[in-house]
Amino acid sequence: MRLNETTIGIENTWCPGCGNFSILNSIKKAIPKLEEKGIKRENIVISAGIGCHAKIFDYLMLNGLYSLHGRDIATVQGMKIANPDLKVITFSGDGNAMGEGIAHTIFAAKRNQDMTLILHNNSVYALTTGQYSPLAEKGWNGPSTPQGSVEDPLNPILLMIVTGATFVARCFAGEIHHLTDVIVEAVQHKGFSFVEVLQPAVPYHSWKEYREKVEFLQKEPDSYEEALKIAREKHKFTLGVFYRADKPVYHEALYGNHNPVVNRISREDRIRKIENIFHIG
């Protein structure tokens, strides 16, 4: 199969009305826009964790590796480190990126890894029958917390700004143009870009709950301190780009303009250098 084929004959198993459809459609709209900006489709590689969000892996005609729960964030970093010519994107649920894989998320931000993390935030473990998630409201009544969860949710926007992400935004699956534009910007951004997408899982949350609460930032914060302040104060339904910054990216700090896969050193040169080590050592 080729990347530009549109019909793929894979059964979509998301619930009718799921917010994930909007994320899928936004990505499909974003790809041609990225191509217009010079990012080739074949240079994009993707990963996904495990959960409802991750089914997007099968629905996108893009190259990639369908990873494990929470490990997708490490998977794409390995892709980028080996071949920095690739544009890497991972789709991660809130259980993935904020639970099982949170160490990978924090460290990807900390090292400003040149990648995009799209956080499908439905604030619930949907596929495993509705347990509370790291982003679920306190009091969430799920099968693992029948008396209501007793933990406060994380603030992912604040967490990402604090730990070093250089592009941090929140979108809503019901605002598909905004979502598409932000994804295009995030993928183009050089550095760790984080896009949280509020995404109703319809058996657990209604679109109405979201539509009543979402609002856009009046203006994009123009300093780190202001971004922190807004991220702390604004409730979790505020949409927009909270923070962006230019910082050296990980792979360039590690080995400059090198590309370990494309510019491999030949066998002969390796042997010669090893002989030198033996000779001197």
């Binding site: 990347l3 080996a82 590690l254 050592g281």
Partner: protein
């Protein structure tokens, strides 16, 4: 000099240059064209405690240190007491720190009061040990000073002045006590971890991931140092989960990826090993064992993770497990495994341990004899990542590509899309399982078992313990046939048919006798006598030769 072996032992606190003194001694011996084996024993701490380095040398190949030393230099009373019985009773000489004890066996040297006069203080003790060795083997001062200059380049003037002083103190009693015969050629010295790192590079390594854990950390350190020159990416990420998954992500792009760890880190990696099995990702994992379970004894040695390496990871999938016996074999086997994991698109484990990882040996490596990792690349149309072929091995394409490349942790169809279809599930199980036969057939044309000697009782062993056994046989003048399976999974039963149903001696560093069990289960080889050690310390050839003699 028992057995034509000379042994130098230096002991003291961490931070006094004990290990460095051992390494310098090893270089002095190798420059004489001799073979060496250096074993460093150190505690899990940064300053203080007790460390020692023991270097044995001979004009023949030597595959173990000896715990009966000819020359013992102790920097403190604790070391003196601990190593009192490690002195060879034939011609052993002990050097002690006369500032720490009034009386002692051997020659007293005022290390503390003399070193105090220099800004580097106790850091200079190692230089003193080198001066003592220089005197004992009959080096002239200028020969010694050449060594000091090249091995201790910071503060050369002070180092030489201190070495001269120590040399003068001991030379009247110690000078030229040991005449070391010159050997044939000067050989490089490598640790097992350095050797396997270089072997992997020679075999095509592109990226290495590791999280510090003794005794595997020195692979990370060595490769990080070599990375710029060899164009490698060497990364120390947040944990071993990241390590294995970054490795898998890199392999997806076509990069030859390797990771390294010890038992605890390997436990965290098992989830990723299973992913590599399902997604058919080639990845080489170095597992360097230390005593477990749990934190165990971090800086010591054991072979207790054999069963874990053979079985780690949920679900059924192909894996390759092989264990090198020597520093030299570590070089070739790393490259060979890197090639195999790419040929068969599955995880491979190079099983080693602290004793082999961190001990040093003189080596004679044919650098170009290594395998170069090749993959089954595809340049046609209608690409299917998991194409079902006769041998189960599917073709590979790497991004960027306009043909769809899908690697998947879920059960999947031939293209790589997720499936829950019962026919497809069993078909893909069958497809992956075909690789088991294919690999076995491939290995039948390779060297999978080392055999040393033709006659005498059969002794089975593997990994670093092979070296201990070979040295024990030499020391004890014992005739035996030593059989060392290099490959442990698939287990090379086709090479061991003659030994089937026989009762043999098994030597391993495991309480439970895991290797003996494997021999029984896979090859119906019974264990007549199990010689096992599990105190964290490698076998000493003198003790082991005695144990072997008792069971023959």
């Amino acid at each position: 000099m028992t057995n034509n072996v000379f042994t130098f032992l230096v002991g003291g606190k961490a931070g006094e240059g004990v290990k460095k003194a051992g390494s310098v001694a090893a270089h002095i011996f190798s420059k004489l064209g001799r073979h060496i084996f250096q074993m460093d024993d150190y505690m899990s701490l940064i300053r203080g405690g007790h460390n020692f380095s023991v270097v044995s040398t001979s004009t023949r190949w030597i595959s173990s240190h000896y715990m009966k030393a000819n020359l013992v230099v102790n920097f403190d009373k604790r070391s003196y007491d601990l190593h009192f019985n490690d002195l060879s009773n034939k011609n052993g000489i002990s050097i002690y720190n006369s500032d720490e004890q009034e009386k002692g066996e051997g020659i007293g040297v005022p290390f503390t009061s003399e070193a105090k006069k220099y800004p580097m203080k106790t850091l200079m003790y190692g230089v003193g040990a080198v001066a003592i060795l220089s005197s004992a083997i009959g080096f002239k001062k200028d020969e010694m000073n050449e060594v000091i200059k090249s091995e201790y380049p910071s503060g050369i003037k002070d180092n030489i002045s201190f070495a001269d002083l120590i040399y003068d103190i001991v030379n009247s009693q110690l000078g030229r006590k040991y005449k070391l015969e010159k050997g044939d050629i000067i050989r490089p010295i490598l640790t097992g971890n350095e050797s396997l790192s270089l072997g992997a590079i020679a075999g095509g390594l592109d990226v290495f991931y590791g999280y510090p854990m003794t005794p595997a950390s020195s692979i990370l350190h060595y490769l990080a140092k070599l990375a710029p020159d060899f164009g490698l990416a060497v990364v120390h990420p947040e944990n071993e989960l990241a390590v294995i998954n970054m490795g898998i992500g890199s392999a997806f792009t076509g990069a030859r990826a390797m990771v390294g760890t010890s038992g605890g880190g390997f436990a965290l990696m098992t989830e990723g090993i299973s992913l590599a099995g399902m997604s058919e990702t080639p990845i080489l994992i170095i597992l360097s064992m230390r005593p477990g379970p749990a934190t165990g004894v971090p800086t010591y040695t054991e072979q207790g993770d054999l069963n874990f390496a053979l079985n780690a990871g949920h679900g059924e999938f192909l894996r390759i497990v092989a264990s090198p016996s020597t520093v030299e074999e570590s070089y070739y086997l790393a490259a060979e495994l890197l090639d195999l994991v790419w040929k068969f698109q599955t995880p491979g484990i190079l099983l080693t341990d602290k004793h082999l990882s961190e001990s040093s040996m003189t080596v004679n490596i044919n650098t170009s004899k290594t395998k170069w990792s090749e993959s089954n690349n595809y340049d046609g149309e209608d690409y299917k990542r998991y194409l079902d072929t006769d041998d189960g091995i599917s073709p590979m394409i790497f991004p960027p590509s306009n043909q769809l490349i899908k690697w998947n942790s879920y059960e999947h169809d031939e293209i790589g899309f997720t499936t829950e279809n019962p026919k497809m599930i069993s078909k893909m199980h069958d497809k992956r399982h075909k690789k088991v036969k294919a690999l076995e057939n491939y290995l039948k044309n390779m060297k999978t078992v080392n055999v040393f000697g033709n006659d005498g009782p059969e002794i089975f062993t593997y990994g670093s313990t092979t070296m201990s056994v070979l040295e024990a046989l030499k020391y004890g003048n014992i005739t035996a046939k030593v059989i060392q399976p290099i490959y442990l999974k698939p287990f090379p039963i086709w090479e061991l048919e003659k030994e089937s149903k026989k009762s043999c001696i098994v030597v391993e560093m495991s309480k439970a006798g895991q290797f003996a069990d494997l021999l029984k289960e896979k090859a119906e080889i019974k264990t007549k006598s199990l010689i096992n050690k599990y105190d964290g310390r490698p076998f000493d050839p003198i003790d082991l030769s005695q144990q072997i003699k008792e069971v023959i």
